[in-house]
Symmetry: none
Subunit: 262 residues, 2 copies
């Protein structure tokens, strides 16, 4: 592995996970901790990370005007996005919805993951520009500015010509009775069209969405494979969904790792 490549890897790790533990990286890459420490020291000198005891952290968001918006993403969305990104298999084909949560998923994808991403969201496409191994297909159409996605007849038509293993669906409301909802009729139709083209559909549901409903129904529960949320499993709504047979993937607690340090 080239030294510069290692450096990129560290920055990538920092962006995706929000921290670096020198020991873990050294073990992961089979190199000495000294080398990792030296790299981190250099990166810190260039202002690309903040050195702390045991590893490094991102520089304060105010300084990173460049990637500011992605770091501003609320913690809940970051966690959901991280778990959802893990659903994308190397070599797999995923349809990525629009919206801020889906955008966070794009940012959370490992930079060197070889996969195909289909999206009707220009911001998602832009976010994937620096993922050299990701094949990106953009679905064209009329730009719906509120959600920053393409929609309309042309977009629906384009959607009919693709298929995928997985659809990561963003919605504005997740409600036991109302199902999955969003605020625009055309947007809802587009999401349905996309869901129809994927073998599995997983919903990205950060906690503020749980229990709320918007005007337009996207899909009923039966047509989705699962849901990723940072809401605790004991939330009544979540329990209800679990009982209804929805595969709920928790994104909240990094739970069982406590015994590792012990």
């Amino acid at each position: 592995m080239l030294a510069a490549e290692r450096r990129d890897h560290l920055l990538d790790l920092l962006a995706r996970e929000g921290k670096i533990v020198a020991k873990d990286v050294a073990a992961g890459l089979r190199i000495s901790e000294d080398t990792v420490r030296r790299d981190l020291r250099d990166l810190a000198n260039e202002g690309l990370c903040q050195r702390v005891y045991g590893g490094a952290l991102p520089v304060s968001p105010a300084v990173v005007d460049y990637g500011a918006r992605q770091t501003v993403a609320p913690d809940g969305k970051r966690k959901v996005a991280s778990v959802a990104a893990g659903l994308v298999r190397p070599g797999g084909v995923v349809i990525l919805d629009g919206g801020t949560t889906a955008l966070a998923v794009a940012h959370a994808l490992p930079r060197d993951l070889a996969c195909t991403v289909i999206t009707h969201s220009p911001p998602v496409a832009v976010a994937l520009l620096d993922h050299p191994q990701a094949e990106v297909l953009v679905l064209g159409g009329r730009l719906f500015k509120h959600s920053a996605v393409t929609c309309g007849a042309a977009a629906a038509e384009a959607a009919r010509n693709v298929s995928a293993d997985l659809f990561l669906l963003g919605v504005t409301g997740v409600h036991p009775e109302a199902g999955l909802t969003t605020g625009d009729a055309e947007d809802a139709a587009m999401k349905r069209a996309l869901a129809a083209r994927a073998a599995d559909t997983y919903v990205l549901a950060s906690s503020e969405k749980i229990g709320t409903a918007s005007r337009y129904r996207v899909l009923p529960w039966e047509e989705i494979s699962g849901l990723v949320t940072d809401e605790p499993a004991h939330n009544p709504v979540i329990e209800q969904l679990t009982a209804a047979g929805v595969d709920v993937l928790p994104a909240g607690a990094p739970s069982p790792s406590s015994e590792v340090s012990a």
Copy 2:
């Protein structure tokens, strides 16, 4: 093996694997590491790769990144973009190319201008999100990451279904004999397809493009209506173009443009 062939091989390797290890390439091609190093040094001088200890990496994403480049858009591009934005009539339909200069045009468009913008560039689409009066049509297709535009058969197909008053074309080279050129064959084809759908085609040519040529021809002079540049009119290349009947719109000096129409 020819030297040029070797050079292509290196670039290809860089594109496919994201890195080059000098030692491995030398062993693979049965040539000395010195030769590989020399090649890499040359490629780096041409800005086609980034030299690092042990090999080379693609040009640093930070340098290529559009988000970064748009904020540091050179003065020349800003001037060109400003003049080009003036070519868009209220209620008109314009096709906006990809690339940093076209992106600068998107930013230069008055925020309340009511017009229709057709683009195959996700960054341009994103830039127009806060233009409430602008109707934006995105042409879908496979994302070509280097230029951040969609291309390929799907994009060309989508292009066939639109027409416009004006096409604002970005290129990498503007040369009296070579014509308008760019660095990628598919990208060139897409630009041709777009030019065919517009009544008028104007070239965005900030001064650093003037007099240079890239590998792939986009269009001959006869097929464009004009050219916007911040290069002074007395530049030999510009004079040659003017003599050839190209409508040159100056973006450098705020001076009267009387002689342009003459």
